[in-house]
């Protein structure tokens, strides 16, 4: 019997801050069918948020959990196994050792998801579920995910996410931070509320949220809150009136987690998480005008496993990622007063060049997005320093948290945007040489494209129109039409040609068509 006779089955292991989970799903009647869902409590977060490292006892517990999961994986003869981890292990100082021990003991290669990747997956799932339930708001909406180790906040404009931020303190971490305070004050509720408020107002959130009427929240405690406020899971989501959430919070805020646990028959840990999550949700909602919280099922693992099971889903996720990266990058560019017309102009030229070279140089979808990112953000440095704008731009881009983009994406984009027609990467550049070797060549290639495209709008006047890019034997020919004076652009372009040839082994030539003879 041939194996491909059977529908695809995949497993996804998610090593989280307070529990390690696994799901196994298959394709059934064209849809994802979850066969198994396991969760095993492993307190990675408690270790990391209090000591910075994962203890050996916890590593052993984690490996035990993973070995159990692998037994179940064998029972379903699953071949596609993905293992990811998020905040707790990401922050662990001994992360590399832990991952190595996992690899040796279980054979699993665990991928450490960056915060932005994690959040973009969660938001993707939230949007997808809301869209499926025809409940996706058509106007501005605040999305938030309260995790054990961080809080994600994103704004949606009815089309796409256009801005996001991550507060690097989640419910579990708040608990660790405030455990000692609990022993010294009876008014712990106020302390938490004050802290959360100061944390969230830091990024001008209050102003951004002022007119928002729609909030979509998610997190592990939502189902507990829904149960305690008698809000059933219907139509693919919980619908929890803010009033009920507030009443619940008022009921428990003066109590310590131990009393909450006894009263509501919860574990002490859950009671603590409930309390802090509720405080976080209510602080967020207080900035808005919303009176109802929507909470669709939004498991990051769902998105990951779906992308393994369905190639089309993977493409759809890539499109979504591309949209939010650029859309949030545009918001950031606005913030730094970048010239939007110029950015868009050179983005188009860059992409035409990129697409001509993509196949030969094995460029990926992600490389394309990074090039676009560099184009959109390359002028950020001007707002910081006119004299050192390239260096400043590099620093700004590199340190910008952009939902959907990884640190490596941002570093690559910063490196690309670091150079103009006057400067080119070489081995004496600290920024360039600090790149990992495997992406240095790629950076050089994308930089070569970016410099040439940027040179073509050196004067920010978008003179050339009807731009086409063709390969003529060993040369890439960029042709366009203009009646304007192109001397400066041509000069700048010429400055970039040698580097382009060095990098690609392909020459580059500009051909300008003009009505004026």
């Amino acid at each position: 019997m041939k194996a491909n006779r059977y529908p695809k089955v995949a497993a996804l292991i998610d090593i989280g801050s307070s529990e390690t989970r696994m799901q196994i799903a298959q394709v059934r009647k064209g849809k994802m069918d979850r066969i198994e869902a396991l969760s095993y409590p492993v307190a990675l977060g408690r270790d990391v948020y209090s000591t910075g490292c994962v203890s050996q006892a916890t590593v052993r517990e984690l490996i035990k959990a993973l070995e159990g999961f692998l037994n179940v994986i064998r029972e379903y003869a699953v071949k596609d196994v993905t293992a990811v981890t998020t905040n707790a292990l990401r922050r662990a100082k001994n992360r590399a050792f832990v991952l190595d021990q996992i690899k040796i003991r279980t054979g699993l290669d665990v991928v450490v998801l960056e915060d932005n990747e994690e959040k973009s997956l969660i938001y993707y799932e939230m949007i997808r579920t809301l869209r499926e339930s025809s409940a996706l708001p058509k106007d501005t909406t605040l999305f938030s995910f309260v995790g054990a180790g961080s809080v994600g906040i994103a704004f949606y404009n009815g089309q796409t996410m256009y801005d996001s931020m991550t507060v690097p303190t989640g419910a579990l971490q708040l608990g660790e931070m405030f455990r000692s305070i609990q022993q010294t004050t009876d008014d712990f509720g106020h302390v938490i509320a004050d802290y959360i408020h100061s944390m969230l107002t830091y990024d001008n959130l209050e102003v951004d949220c002022r007119n928002i009427r729609n909030v979509v929240f998610t997190g592990s405690m939502i189902s507990v809150i829904a149960a305690m406020t008698d809000c059933p899971f219907t139509g693919g989501m919980y619908r929890i009136p803010v009033e009920k959430m507030r009443a619940l919070y008022d009921e428990i805020r003066a109590q310590r987690p131990e009393s909450i646990a006894i009263r509501y028959k919860l574990g002490t840990r859950t009671a603590e998480m409930l309390y802090l999550s509720l405080a976080l949700y209510l602080s967020l909602v207080s900035f808005t005008q919303a009176d109802l919280v929507l909470s669709p099922r939004s498991d990051m693992s769902d998105c990951l496993i779906r992308s393994v099971l369905f190639p089309a889903e993977l493409e759809s996720y890539k499109d979504y990622l591309h949209d939010i990266i650029l859309s949030c990058a545009a918001t950031t560019a606005d913030f730094y007063h970048c010239n939007k017309g110029h950015s868009e102009y050179i983005r188009n030229i860059s992409l035409k060049m990129f697409d001509r070279l993509a196949s030969q140089h094995s460029f990926s979808h992600r490389d394309r997005a990074v090039l676009e990112l560099a184009c959109v953000l390359h002028e950020c440095g001007h707002a910081v320093s006119a004299r050192h704008h390239l260096q400043s731009g590099y620093e700004v881009i590199r340190h910008t948290d952009l939902i959907g983009a990884t640190k490596s994406d941002m570093l690559l984009a910063a490196t690309i945007a670091r150079y103009n027609e006057l400067e080119e990467p070489d081995m004496s550049d600290r920024e360039f040489t600090s790149l990992p070797e495997d992406i240095r060549t790629k950076a050089a290639k994308l930089t070569a494209i970016f410099r040439a495209a940027n040179a073509l709008d050196n004067t920010h006047t978008e003179k050339l129109s009807d731009i086409t890019v063709r390969m003529r034997e060993d040369t890439m020919e960029i042709s366009g039409r203009t009646n304007a004076n192109m001397y400066l652009e041509s000069y700048a372009f010429e400055q970039c040609a040698a580097y382009f040839l060095d990098v690609f082994g392909t020459g580059i030539r500009l051909r300008v068509k003009s009505a004026i003879k």
């Binding site: 529908p7 298959q26 394709v27 029972e75």
Partner: protein
């Protein structure tokens, strides 16, 4: 015979439960509105009913141990029942004996430990351990007397009438004596080891439940003694005495057929040994031979935190064999000096000594019931219908389950359906994994053989073997090791929880995806007991059940926290809450005037919280019908408390074992089945599974099964408000023996299907495989 029976029938109306029952129970205190309580505290305590002054439980509650003795009395009723074939009556008598042994080893032992430790807290029925011990001792002494009365006055005369008699050496002719002498010389003598007791040889360790003979001996030569006495002119009139113990070998059959005038003549082993005891003590004068039997505390004390549970249980089993004596059985007419000696040596309290008419250890009659060639004196052999109606026409069991849910009612329908499910899974190339819980399995379990074969065939086989299944620990350890050696993944369940649920999960890869097939049952995966116990199993591949089953196994394997179960009700995570909610809903519905009612069939009803909720429901007007085979701590028919509750107990040819729960649910009845009784241990300390029947046809069938049981007026006895059990009056209605009815139903269905198949030759022919086809 008729005289004895008559006497017994007369006694039946005023059984011992009635003796300890307060007459005032009939006249309930009306002063507290809405509730009725016993009046006299003394009577209440005597009755094992919780007194008024216990605020934590205002409702009456019958003590579980006392109720258990009542259950054994109902089994004894069957031994008395003249309409039962005489060898079956022997079997019932034997069962009362083995039941009582186990009761002593666990329950009485537990009470005795409390008494020894001066624990004085009252139980939920209002009794202190000391009071309970006294009541139990009295009740069991009386019960024991009835057992022997049944044997001597009713069963033995009937056996004699049928040409079967027991004879003692004193009444044997020369031919018979010669026969037993020869048997003694050839067989017994080589295996007997007399154990002398003196200053250098302490009282030997005697195995639990072993039958022994204590021999009192005169030490030295009597003539020599007399001479010495004369010389010294001392007043000594007795020689010096010594004791020895001879164990009746457990490996030999207790009864020996000897030549005789009757069709079959038997002699007991201990009588033969006593007859030739002098051969073991040549040179000593035997002053007396007294058979005795010891029962020990056999409850295991297991440290579940031990690193290797298997080793820990092995150690505990060893310790169990050395548990403190809780009962000493002696024959009436036992030599007083020997009785005193044994009581002293064994440190047995007075109340724990049971003087019986003999023979000791009535469990011998369970084996005796199987003597060859006397089928006319037994129930007609029950041959389970194979294949069961739901699988007729299917050669592929998975196809049958895919088409719809299936139900099998054992032993009326063959357990082979369950065995074949595992067996087919073991051989099916598309099956990826098999998971199963094992609590008690038979000696040559075909299920285990199939699981081993599945592992050999490369399937992922996970077996949860419950090592703590009482008195099956050793057997289960052996199975566990065998399964492990075959490559199965064997797990032993969770610390502090016995895994009692009965479930098999088969994971199969099919063209439209992975599908999970399940069998869930009310009884163990034990092909032997499945011939005697009435149980029900359901097969399904409904996805919500599959999801729950996987979650349950992941929890049992320790791979995952307990999930939120969608369809199944699982203890200890939510079963109590679920049952309480189901009962409360009936109460609420009754208050709203909606249809309400509860019909539950359990082996035991002990849980005080469930009982209180049932009382509440009764008071709200919910009609409650309970079929409780064994212990029932709820007292039905009390005005203002439980007048809407009727309790019956079915004790018959087969052991009622299924647990079924029906709730009227406002006119949309729901029915559940499973492994759990309404006892605290089932709801709080075990992993139990109760599942709903969703298929409409199966629901109807389950309702009908319950109704047939409820209409039983042959094997059913009704529990009265004074806690006595009385036979249900036919009152002109036809006699209904539910077990016989189920036999008829299963056969009729089978015959109908067979006839239909003959009429339709194109129909696929099912050739059922027998469970005996392959063994390890």
């Amino acid at each position: 015979m008729p005289d004895d029976k008559e006497k017994f029938e007369k006694k039946k109306g005023t059984g011992r439960t009635g003796d300890v029952q307060s007459p005032s129970m009939e006249n309930l205190n009306e002063s507290i509105p809405g509730a009725a309580f016993p009046t006299a505290k003394k009577d209440v305590i005597a009755a094992g009913v919780k007194p008024l002054a216990q605020p934590e439980n205002p409702y009456p509650y019958y003590n579980r141990e006392l109720s258990w003795v009542d259950f054994d009395a109902r089994v004894l009723d069957e031994a008395y029942e003249a309409e039962n074939p005489v060898l079956e009556r022997c079997r019932f008598l034997g069962i009362t004996g083995s039941n009582l042994d186990e009761f002593f080893m666990v329950r009485v032992a537990g009470v005795q430990v409390q008494v020894d430790h001066k624990y004085s807290k009252r139980d939920v029925s209002g009794l202190t351990p000391e009071q309970l011990y006294g009541l139990l001792s009295e009740k069991i002494h009386d019960f024991s007397e009835k057992q022997y009365s049944c044997l001597r006055r009713s069963i033995l005369p009937t056996l004699k009438h049928e040409g079967i008699e027991f004879i003692r050496p004193g009444k044997m002719n020369e031919e018979q004596l010669s026969f037993i002498r020869s048997y003694f010389d050839r067989v017994l003598f080589p295996v007997l080891t007399p154990l002398a007791i003196d200053n250098s040889r302490p009282f030997p360790f005697l195995a639990n439940k072993s039958l022994n003979i204590c021999v009192r001996l005169a030490v030295g030569d009597p003539a020599d003694y007399e001479r010495k006495a004369k010389d010294k002119k001392k007043k000594e009139k007795k020689p010096q005495e010594a004791f020895a113990v001879v164990q009746v070998p457990g490996i030999l059959q207790r009864f020996l057929e000897i030549p005789g005038q009757a069709e079959h003549t038997y002699c007991l082993l201990e009588d033969i040994i006593i007859c030739f005891m002098d051969r073991l003590f040549e040179g000593s004068e035997i002053l007396s031979c007294s058979p005795f039997r010891l029962t020990r505390n056999s409850d295991l004390e297991i440290d579940e935190d031990a690193e290797d549970l298997l080793i820990e249980i092995r150690e505990s089993i060893k310790k169990r064999k050395r548990g403190k004596p809780v009962r000493l059985e002696l024959m009436s007419g036992c030599d007083p000096a020997t009785a005193k000696f044994l009581a002293g040596q064994l440190d047995v309290r007075k109340e724990a000594i049971y003087v019986e008419n003999g023979p000791l250890d009535l469990t011998l009659f369970s084996k005796f019931a199987n003597i060859e060639g006397e089928d006319a004196l037994r129930y007609p052999k029950l041959t389970p219908v194979n294949p069961p109606a739901d699988f007729w026409g299917y050669s592929d069991i998975f196809q049958a389950i895919r088409d719809k849910d299936r139900m099998v009612h054992h032993p009326y329908e063959s357990f082979d359906a369950v065995v074949n499910f595992v067996r087919q899974a073991a051989d099916d190339p598309d099956v990826l994994a098999i998971k199963e819980t094992l609590y008690r399995v038979s000696g040559h379990s075909p299920i285990i053989a199939a699981l081993i074969r599945a592992a050999e065939n490369g399937k992922q086989v996970t077996v949860l073997v419950e090592l703590k299944a009482r008195f099956d620990e050793e057997n289960n350890i052996n199975w566990a090791l065998k399964l492990e050696q075959a490559g199965c993944h064997v797990i032993y369940g969770l610390v502090g929880l016995k895994t009692h649920c009965k479930i098999t999960l088969v994971v199969r890869r099919e063209e439209d995806g992975i599908r999970r097939y399940l069998h869930m049952g009310t009884g163990n995966y034990n092909d032997s007991t499945a011939k005697l116990y009435t149980d029900i199993g359901m097969f399904t591949c409904r996805e919500p059940f599959g999801v729950d089953a996987s979650g349950l196994f992941n929890f049992l394997s320790g791979y995952s926290r307990p999930p939120i179960f969608g369809k199944m009700i699982v203890a200890p995570h939510g079963m109590r809450d679920a049952f309480e909610a189901l009962i409360r809903r009936e109460t609420d519905n009754a208050k709203k005037g909606l249809p309400s009612g509860i019909t539950a069939k359990v082996n035991s009803l002990v849980d005080p919280e469930i009982i209180n909720l049932l009382y509440d429901a009764s008071r709200a007007g919910v009609k409650i019908r309970l079929i409780v085979r064994g212990i029932c701590c709820l007292i039905p028919g009390l005005a203002g408390v439980s007048e809407n509750i009727t309790v019956i107990s079915i004790v018959g040819q087969l052991l009622e074992h299924s647990r079924i729960f029906r709730f009227e649910n406002g006119g949309n009845p729901r029915i559940f089945m499973g492994s759990a009784d309404w006892m605290p241990r089932n709801l709080d300390r075990r992993v139990e599974l109760v599942f709903p029947i969703l298929d409409e046809d199966l629901k109807e069938r389950a309702f009908a099964i319950l109704e047939t049981m409820w209409s039983d007026n042959v094997n059913a006895r009704q529990m009265m408000s004074n806690k006595e059990y009385v036979h249900i009056e036919h009152r002109g209605r036809p006699a209904v023996n539910s077990q016989q009815e189920f036999i008829r139903i299963a056969r009729e269905k089978f015959e109908r299907q067979k006839a239909a198949e003959s009429a339709s030759p194109a129909h696929p022919k099912e050739t059922p495989r027998s469970a005996d086809e392959d063994e390890i």
